[in-house]
């Protein structure tokens, strides 16, 4: 078992339990929102997913920085998987956000809202990460360029977040602030558990993919060692590090 597979089962069980608890709290404990009513329940899946996606992008940048510092390939793979996972969470955020916008505002998308537009910009920025990797054939150069991209784009995420928070003309509700915000206790508890569940899901899926990649690499290395170089089919050009 690879280092990434260790503790994966326990983590997966903890993730399932936390997310199930969070969803139970969403529908059976958290009160209906006075303003939006039942539609506000989307908040508990949409916002934790958005926060996790943004943290995943930043994590990808940090791991990319580790690759540039050490030159060890494992950091590039970790950065790649972190960004890959964050993109999946980001797609989920955009879709659930669109559904919530349609239910609340009557439109699938509101261009005048800085939160929506800035998240889309971050997503589009990171959507170019894989094509960038794919366009470079040499694995070392691919890792180096991708890591530089991950660091720069990762640094853009908190800057973007601060810029949006500073903007005044928004229609997006602000319920989470450093001073406590305006979420009642039961809603806050539900949200925190949903956020923890989403974070655990991200870590579990990251470990799962890392474990699968590490196992595949070991199989290829074993085949090469036992049966010779010719026994292993050459890797096709790929965005994924191997």
């Amino acid at each position: 078992m690879s280092v990434y597979g260790r503790g994966l089962r326990g983590l997966a069980i903890a993730t399932v339990l936390t997310i199930t608890a969070a969803f139970a709290l969403v529908f059976f404990y958290a009160p209906l929102d006075a303003d939006q009513g039942f539609v506000q329940k989307i908040f508990y899946v949409h916002v934790p997913m958005a926060i996790t996606a943004l943290c995943g992008f930043v994590l990808g940048g940090v791991l990319g920085g580790m690759y540039l510092r050490t030159g060890e390939r494992k950091w590039d793979i970790r950065s790649y998987v972190a960004i890959h996972m964050a993109l999946i969470f980001g797609v989920g955020t955009l879709i659930t956000g669109g559904i919530w916008a349609k239910a609340s505002w009557g439109h699938w998308w509101v261009w005048s809202d800085p939160t929506l537009t800035s998240f889309l910009i971050v997503m589009l920025l990171f959507a170019t990460y894989q094509p960038l990797r794919f366009s470079i054939e040499d694995p070392e150069r691919q890792s180096r360029y991708a890591s530089v991209f991950a660091v720069v784009a990762g640094a853009f995420v908190p800057l973007n977040f601060i810029a949006v928070r500073a903007a005044q003309g928004y229609v997006h509700p602000r319920v989470l602030t450093l001073t406590g915000g305006n979420l009642p206790g039961s809603m806050r508890l539900t949200f925190v558990i949903a956020l923890v569940g989403m974070g655990l899901l991200y870590v579990t899926l990251w470990k799962y993919e890392m474990s699968a990649k590490a196992t595949r690499m070991q199989v290829r290395a074993l085949r090469r060692a036992l049966l010779g170089e010719d026994s292993v089919a050459p890797l096709k050009r790929s965005a994924a590090p191997s």
């Binding site: 969803f23 529908f27 059976f28 009513g37 039942f38 539609v39 329940k41 989307i42 899946v45 949409h46 997913m49 999946i88 797609v91 989920g92 879709i95 659930t96 559904i99 919530w100 349609k102 239910a103 899901l201 899926l205 799962y208 993919e209 699968a212 196992t215 595949r216 199989v219 074993l222 085949r223 090469r224 060692a225 036992l226 049966l227 010779g228 026994s231």
Partner: protein, 75 residues
């Protein structure tokens, strides 16, 4: 089931329910699709591993039948 129905709050499913259900289904579908893709990749790795095991076994058998044959270097 009757207990569940009794404790379940009266959710306004006729109005916003479809949107809320849609959002949660999107989340679950994303996770399921991802896990399914990863499972298919894992199955491919398992197939390769079984193939490798078979190749090693064949190699071992041929070496047992012909012990004088020089072993190929293993990296």
């Amino acid at each position: 089931m009757s207990w569940f129905v009794a404790v379940a709050p009266a959710l306004p499913l006729h109005t916003a329910g479809k949107y809320v259900a849609g959002a949660y289904i999107v989340f679950l579908a994303l996770v399921l699709v991802y896990v399914a893709i990863m499972a298919s990749r894992l199955a491919r790795t398992e197939r390769e591993l079984a193939e490798l095991r078979r190749d090693v076994e064949l190699r071992r058998q041929s070496e047992a039948q012909d012990p004088d044959r020089q072993r190929e270097p293993v990296a």
